[in-house]
Symmetry: C2
Subunit: 341 residues, 2 copies
Amino acid sequence: MSELRHDPIQRRWVIISTERGLRPMDLQPVAQPVAQPQSTCPFCRGQERHTPPEIARVGDGNGSWDARVVPNKFPALGIEGDIDRRAVGQFDRMNGIGAHEVVIETPDHATDLAETPLGRFAAVLRLYRDRLADLMRDPRLRFVIVFKNHGDAAGASLSHPHSQIIATPVTPLAVAAELQAAREHYNVKERCLFCDIMHQELAEQRRVVVADADFVTIAPYASRNPFEMMLMPRRHAHDFSRCDDAMLLALACHFREVLRRMKAALGDVPYNFILHTAPNSIHSVDVRGDYWKTLHLDWHWHFEILPRLTRVAGFEWGTGFYINPTAPEDAARYLREVDPS
Amino acid sequence: MSELRHDPIQRRWVIISTERGLRPMDLQPVAQPVAQPQSTCPFCRGQERHTPPEIARVGDGNGSWDARVVPNKFPALGIEGDIDRRAVGQFDRMNGIGAHEVVIETPDHATDLAETPLGRFAAVLRLYRDRLADLMRDPRLRFVIVFKNHGDAAGASLSHPHSQIIATPVTPLAVAAELQAAREHYNVKERCLFCDIMHQELAEQRRVVVADADFVTIAPYASRNPFEMMLMPRRHAHDFSRCDDAMLLALACHFREVLRRMKAALGDVPYNFILHTAPNSIHSVDVRGDYWKTLHLDWHWHFEILPRLTRVAGFEWGTGFYINPTAPEDAARYLREVDPS
């Protein structure tokens, strides 16, 4: 018998269709890397002249680089100009102000994050943090999203390991909905919704994938997709850009283990991960012209990790209602029991 | 320069990235029919014993059938039992009560709706209507969704032309959001949001794909995807199950032209369509035990038609924010100017 489950963060129901109950070996990952010869790759070491001018880099101590950030060559949003909001009859438009950057995670074409040395993984996370902090100084930008597309089916258009950063002048719908759910929970209970979920999951253990002193990764109770995961810090923290280097090294260690377990259980599947940090909520300007920002006691930054094992069909597109053929308890057990090495 | 547009129905912003401005010939439809030999197809004429017992059919007048409805062999939700709602710690669950049916659109394996004779297309629409009307008599079911997955990339698992009907015991998130937007618009203006949009589009003409005496299809102002369309009746109507046969024949004629124009412009692309009719809002029971339903002056039934030309990547998954590389004005123009015959 299938069951319906409600996600308290996204406030959406999902159908956990246990009769179709798929195990890892039943899933047919469509996970092909994007075909792209190394010789034409603009992200490889030595090809730096083929990208737009670098925004940031982490050096390797030998005058070269471990990871670097460049503007997206085909940006969805551009940084120049003022926000211009207009009505078009009854519709609303804005000009496309924002930022669109690429984080090149390694100089080597053929590695992947699950195999990256810890120091280099931490360097990538430091670049996420530093770019977030920098972009959030711009009051035009309401939200900064860091995400990764791995594999053709997950939307990657280049195979060299990279992630992307997009800063938008509005708060995206799904994030706004999560913020509202978390705020209403906090207003009633004076507790963080994410902390509450984490505590229930740690007490029950059934949906915990990896838990260490600093981070916890779970398979959410109402997962939309097979083997979906949520990674969050144990201690309440709303803003990823405030992580210190030690925290990011611990995160690299935890995150890499999660990716390794995913790879060991499912193979080299296409996947996305997405960082949901606090929005850039500027609530006042002081006499010096400095911006003061909301302290989100009701928000807890987290990564959504989404292996792309099933296709989004008409039902999901038309309703926002998902049918998940793998119970998250089963997914968490497979991921816990697999040998990640 | 890209621009942001706001959809007043879904209340989501999209990025129309005109710099990437793709024309039909630039899009790479991944549109493969599902590989399935006709000899093993359970939906073909003569193979009726391979489906669960038939729920409804439209005959061809010669003792055979034009279209039929059967239960899904692997249903996501089951019709038997009472609704059981429970708390699981802070989470919520329900048992999987609902219905999951398949509409076999034709006895012939290799035709498609765009090529179907009008009478057979209308027969399929009558089956949608009749199943909707029947399922909406069940007060456990809050919403009935009719949808079609065409092609592997759109989620079809069998290539024989078919659509599906799923009845759910909750109102799906995306539908609930649209209902709320439409209701709030109505509460302020005492006008239907969809009628307002249709009138603006008919006045401007730029995003109209096909308009006749009874139906209008537009490329929505804030389309999420290239060549997305919305089809709706000209006269306000909230409930698809109240359409009469003449209306459905007119709809078949309009809908087939839309599908033909899509096919002529884009080729045999994977696509979904989804019917958003009024929810099954039962507001009272009279002394005879009959249910009285809400008359939705604020709702207007419509089909969303979604060619699947781009992949959903991490940004879209993580934010509900879409980047559309084709302006809907361009999409509508291509679809208007193409020869559909």
